[in-house]
């Protein structure tokens, strides 16, 4: 039950983040919306492992009857969390490089400058 609620909640979070990425014109807001997408997908994997129960999978004695959480999705998504952290850092570094040169975070202004430079 808990698992299913978490899964639906995280999928809707992903949609909200994607819409935010399209609609916002500010570079930092785009990156933060992208962070929402990543966090939601990481949350979804916790939801997947919580389908069979929410007790931590450190069970002693007879574990055939205990409703413990599935450890595999939790174990693999740790790598996913590290990757999303690295991606957020890298995108902010690129944003800093662009800001230092053009002093704006507006996507349309930046693209207009680049297109004018080409011609």
């Amino acid at each position: 039950m808990t698992g299913t609620i978490v899964i639906y909640f995280s999928i809707s979070g992903m949609l909200v983040g994607t819409i935010g990425m399209i609609l916002s014109k500010d570079l930092i807001k785009k990156i933060l919306s992208f962070g929402i997408v990543e966090t939601s997908i990481n949350l979804m994997y916790t939801g997947i492992s919580a389908r069979s129960g929410i007790i931590p999978p450190i069970v002693s004695g007879d574990f055939s009857s205990a409703f413990y959480a599935d450890p595999i999705p939790q174990a693999v998504i740790i790598t996913g969390i590290v990757i999303s952290f690295a991606l957020l850092c890298l995108s902010l570094v690129f944003a800093i490089i662009i800001y230092n040169r053009y002093h704006t975070m507006n996507v349309e202004t930046i693209e207009m400058i680049f297109e004018r430079e080409t011609q």
Binding site: F34, I41, M44, I48, F94, I98
Partner: protein, 480 residues
């Protein structure tokens, strides 16, 4: 098989430790590439499969088969040429460390049989390519890289959602569990990977990123990173749940092949011409997703590396990427290699491009598809006539020895592959080449660069998501 992954990563770590000694790190890079290349024959002819870890089906499976071999070979050749070209250009150990770790990562993707391991390695390859694109720290490169980062990471999150659904349904991340999964999982996996494929409308970050990257990085992006999705599509399509993908790829592939050519013909910037042709050639590969596309991926990686290296070196020497200003300034040696690359991509007989492209056109399912493919092929010849009709200057001086070595390895592979694989029916490609060159001579006064509307970040994002939704609808219709 493990050596193919760990040797390059080990070499990368050595380069990282010896970061300040510039001459040492390039030597380490060459030795590492040759060492991993010498492991390659043992892996290819063995046909083995192993499972890492003692957890049965939960361990990470690795295997090699006929689909992986062309990609493993092309990775070795491209990396060798790129590293040979980069000597004496003042790159430090960090650059070589990134390239070598990328080499190990790519080998790992082509050998892996585990869905989550593929996600991790693709993300690692993407992160390294983001850093490599903006290696010279120009704002334009940073912008291209950021655009690529936002789009590709969004796509890979959809992929992660897809394999989460696969795990919920089957309880395993092994690739064999894809045999019986629901359509929504397959469409999420397809749509997530399509953003990295270079198909038109799905990955409009591509022309900017490929044309602004440093000389040595564009060939890696175009020859290897784009091939990740091609390889995975060829592999996934053999599972029965992905049956709907064959028709979808036929439509998207042919559209991509033709639209990419139209943009390329009109472009004036030599590196952008090559970038648009990546879009078009990926379309060719995905029209019929089988072993012939894997070999077209191999030949595309080789000739596109040659073209990107020659064009990059010329534009770095002359200071302009506009090919019309090159006339009379390029040396005869450079012109010869440019000619070999251009003829190969246009599909002239006795080159590798002709062999693999003709097999794809010959294997097309229906006559109308074959005609459309021939039109796209003629368009390729038309766009590369720009390079063929350049006038070489009087100077017959040779470029540096390492550059010539890189060029000759690539041209040798192109011509050898072209002669070994040649069959008599392939002379029909000459027809497309002649038609293309004639059209170029007629129309060359009317070619103007097309607007870059599709490549802006908002339109790239929305066109990706719109076509993702369309493919979901297509999948539901085709699989019911």
């Amino acid at each position: 098989m493990i050596a193919l992954v760990f040797l390059p990563v080990l070499g990368g770590i050595i380069c990282l430790v010896l970061k300040d000694k510039k001459s040492v790190s390039s030597n380490v890079a060459i030795i590492t590439v040759f060492a991993s290349g010498s492991v390659l024959p043992f892996v290819i002819f063995e046909d083995a499969s192993i499972i890492l870890g003692k957890w049965g089906s939960l361990g990470i499976g690795m295997a090699v088969d006929e689909f992986a071999i062309p990609f493993l070979l092309s990775t070795f050749i491209v990396m060798l040429a790129v590293i040979l070209n980069s000597i004496k250009r003042g790159y430090d150990g960090f650059f070589y460390a990134l390239i070598l770790i990328l080499y190990g990562t790519l080998n790992s993707i082509f050998l892996s049989r585990d869905l989550f391991s593929i996600f991790v390695t693709i993300e690692l390859a993407s992160i390294i390519s983001f850093i490599l694109i903006s290696y010279e720290k120009k704002p334009r490169q940073a912008w291209a890289s950021l655009k690529y980062l936002l789009l590709s990471s969004l796509g890979l999150n959809f992929y992660l959602l897809g394999i989460g659904i696969v795990y919920m349904e089957t309880g395993s991340f092994a690739m064999d569990s894809l045999e019986h999964v629901s359509t929504i999982a397959t469409v999420l996996i397809f749509g997530g990977l399509a953003v990295k494929s270079g198909l038109f409308f799905f990955s409009m970050w591509l022309p900017d990123a490929h044309s602004n990257a440093p000389i040595e990085v564009s060939p890696i992006l175009s020859g290897l990173i784009v091939k990740l999705d091609v390889y995975l599509s060829i592999r996934f399509i053999t599972y029965s749940s992905f049956g709907w993908m064959r028709d979808t790829y036929m439509i998207i592939g042919i559209v991509s092949a033709i639209v990419g050519v139209v943009f390329a013909v009109n472009s004036k910037n030599a590196k952008r011409v090559l970038a648009y042709h990546t879009i078009s050639q990926v379309g060719f590969m995905l029209v019929n997703c089988d072993k012939s596309s894997a070999w077209h991926g191999f030949s595309h990686a080789v000739f596109k590396t040659l073209l990107f290296l020659v064009v990059g070196n010329i534009s770095a020497r002359l200071g302009t990427k506009e090919y019309s200003k090159w006339s009379g300034k390029i040396t005869k040696v450079e012109y010869a290699f440019l000619l070999i690359g251009s003829l190969a991509i246009a599909g002239f007989p006795m080159t590798s491009g002709c062999v693999t492209k003709e097999i794809i056109i010959h294997g097309a399912c229906c006559p109308s598809l074959k005609i459309l493919l021939l039109i796209a092929s003629a368009g390729t010849a038309m766009s590369f006539s720009k390079f063929i009709f350049l006038k070489p200057g009087k100077s017959s001086s040779w470029p540096a020895a390492n550059t010539v070595a890189a060029y000759s390895i690539l041209s040798g592979v192109i011509i050898l592959h072209g002669i070994i694989g040649f069959e008599i029916y392939m002379f029909e490609s000459l027809l497309a080449v002649i038609a293309g060159v004639a059209t170029y001579l007629l129309l060359r006064k009317f070619l103007r660069p097309l607007p870059v509307y599709f490549e802006r970040i908002d339109s790239a994002l929305s066109s990706y998501l719109i076509f993702f939704l369309i493919s979901i609808v297509l999948a539901i219709i085709l699989s019911s």
